[in-house]
């Protein structure tokens, strides 16, 4: 008798499936494009962290005699900017503020937006209507316009830019969170949990969160690319970080006047924004494909 029980208990352990995330990682590891993109993103983050050790010069050190040197000048591999500052060092240091401005708003908006959206989706009824109509108002602005409006009113500066971008992304994430939560809420197993006496917080934490966070997360990763472009765009308009800080969008703006003298150096900060943005996009695409169990 005891032997039989032990057998029955042992069976589920043997046939246990490796789990959803295990499969996602396995599928991702077979996607060379997503992997290369992820490696470049990790490298950019490493460059940002290790900037003081990697940069050959002080990014703020100006010099009147070596202004706008072309790419390949001995000692100044990527040339110098309009104030004679070393471009390579500024691009390396620029990764810090550019990544902070571009990436940080998305996780903050992810936390706030999914909280709002899940509450609205789970509660339904009047709560849903109130929350979602408010979200609709912010969603009714084109993203660029809302970001510019808020940081234009608040004034330039890193914090104001971060706040503006976060406000831009909260409604987008909240809408996705609301729609997936509404779908999950109607499923039979949620009804079953409610029938068996589970209260709302338990159902949300145990049954809803585990099923909605994945899709919301994938959507949020796709926003990082947009956020990078928007964040640097704000700096480009003079609404993000202030000079003399090194940030790619701001560098692009201050080098605009140099396109007649040294066009290749002037275009460099944009290359960095482009590479970062496309790598986040490619990785997000790979992640979405890997998480799509149906295909």
């Amino acid at each position: 008798m005891t032997a039989i029980t032990a057998d029955i208990v042992a069976v589920p352990r043997i046939i246990r499936s490796p789990g959803f995330w295990h499969g996602v990682i396995r599928r991702l590891s077979r996607d060379p494009v997503a992997l290369v993109a992820l490696c470049i993103v990790i490298a950019l983050i490493a460059i940002a962290i290790l900037a003081p050790y990697l940069a050959p010069y002080d990014p703020a050190k100006t010099s009147v005699i070596r202004r706008l040197k072309p790419i390949g000048t001995p000692g100044y591999l990527l040339g110098t900017d309009e104030l004679g500052r070393d471009m390579l060092s500024r691009l390396i240091y620029g990764a810090r503020l550019s990544l902070v401005m571009g990436v940080i708003p998305v996780p903050i908006a992810f936390i706030i937006g999914s909280t709002i959206g899940i509450i609205a989706g789970y509660a339904g009824g009047i709560v849903n209507t109130l929350i979602m109509r408010t979200v609709d108002v912010f969603y009714a602005f084109p993203s660029v316009l809302l970001a510019v409006a808020l940081s234009g009113a608040l004034g330039s500066g890193l914090t104001n830019a971060l706040v503006s971008l976060t406000v831009v992304f909260i409604p987008q994430i909240a809408r996705v969170a609301e729609s997936v939560t509404t779908q999950v809420r109607r499923l039979d197993y949620v009804d079953a949990a409610r029938a068996s006496g589970a209260n709302a917080p338990t159902i949300i934490v145990v049954h809803v969160l585990s099923n909605v966070l994945g899709p919301i997360f994938v959507f949020a990763t796709s926003l990082i690319s947009v956020s990078m472009i928007l964040a640097s765009g704000l700096s480009f308009l003079g609404l993000g970080v202030r000079p003399p800080d090194a940030e790619w969008g701001l560098m692009l703006n201050s080098l605009r006047t140099a396109i007649y003298v040294n066009p290749y150096v002037a275009a460099l900060p944009g290359v960095m924004i482009f590479v970062t943005s496309i790598c986040f996009n490619l990785f997000s695409d790979g992640l979405r494909t890997a998480m799509d169990v149906k295909s």
């Binding site: 108002v137 084109p142 316009l145």
Partner: protein
């Protein structure tokens, strides 16, 4: 369709009121006294007191909003601090340029995006699909303000074929049709077209692939129709969604033109907005954002209703 249009309109009105509240609040989230934001810094004490009561700044916020909204509805968006002219007039004269640019960009973007997406959807999984997908990926990932700079570097600085900035020869006020003016439009329009191109290509690719996977296209092939005839059915089925995406993109481009208009000094609403930010001209900032956001809401409504008119199956709940 009329009923659906009315239903959408009823849905849009609260959103429009909400949008106007956000725009109204812009002056109040700005640091400092709102009065300082709408008056020049050297305004006399009497003028300040007069304007405070004129704008109702001594009254509670909801009353202030009602007064502001009432004036805005009658076309009074205040006076520009920088130029001293009424804000609405400045916006209207700038918006013509923005509309020209956005329409041109949407047309270019739609043409190339539709061709790319169609080819990618028909030849799904082949090298054509991969190239088209790569182009649309680049289109949605490229910082367009940088792309504008690169195009200026290539076509203006290096080759000298096209002007680098401005809305036309001899300033920007003249309006005429002709090569002299068209030259100024080419680079900004191409730069701007990259955004809708990528999105439209992606949309049409998945539409075409979905339609081709449906039974009816196989039935058409079994019936003996030629490939070209089958494609006509595919296009007719993809058109309503594709056109509505195009309409929404036009709205996005009109509202989000600030970066490209700044790069090219194109004298539209985005350029006006940039100037207002630079000089902290809050009435212009607020007015421009209000007009652009309202226009975007309107475009959304029109696209929704038109789409349901073309294809009654599609009605947003």
């Amino acid at each position: 369709m009329l009923a659906y249009g009315l239903k959408r309109l009823l849905h849009v009105i609260p959103v429009a009121i909400g949008v106007s509240i956000v725009c109204f609040m812009l002056i109040h989230i700005a640091p400092g006294d709102p009065l300082a934001a709408i008056l020049p810094s050297d305004a006399s004490a009497e003028l300040q007191a007069e304007m405070r009561s004129f704008y109702g700044l001594d009254k509670p916020l909801p009353v202030q909003y009602a007064l502001w909204a009432w004036r805005a509805l009658h076309g009074d968006l205040g006076v520009s601090i920088a130029s001293g002219r009424p804000v609405l007039g400045e916006i209207l004269s700038a918006s013509i340029n923005s509309i020209i640019l956005a329409v041109a960009a949407t047309m270019i973007g739609f043409t190339f995006g539709a061709v790319l997406g169609f080819l990618a959807g028909v030849f799904r999984g082949t090298w054509i699909d991969r190239i088209a997908s790569a182009i649309s990926m680049i289109g949605v990932s490229v910082p367009h303000y940088w792309l504008g700079m690169v195009l200026v570097i290539v076509f203006s600085v290096r080759l000298g074929w096209l002007p680098a900035m401005g809305g036309g020869p001899g300033g920007s006020d003249g309006k005429a049709v002709g090569w002299d003016y068209l030259r100024y439009l080419i680079l900004p329009a191409i730069t701007m077209s990259v955004i809708p191109m990528g999105i439209i290509a992606r949309t049409i690719r998945s539409l075409v692939a979905d339609i081709l996977a449906q039974d009816f296209t196989q039935a058409l092939a079994a019936k003996g129709l030629l490939t070209g005839q089958i494609m006509r059915h595919v296009i007719r089925n993809a058109a309503p969604t594709a056109i509505s995406v195009m309409g929404l993109q036009l709205g996005y481009l009109l509202g989000g033109s600030i970066l490209i208009e700044t790069v090219f000094s194109w004298p539209g609403t985005g350029f006006l907005l940039n100037g207002a930010i630079f000089s902290r001209d809050l009435p212009v900032l607020q007015g421009t954002i209000l007009v652009l956001a309202m226009f975007f809401v309107l475009v959304n409504l029109v696209v929704d209703v038109l789409q349901s008119a073309i294809d009654p199956r599609i009605q947003r709940s």
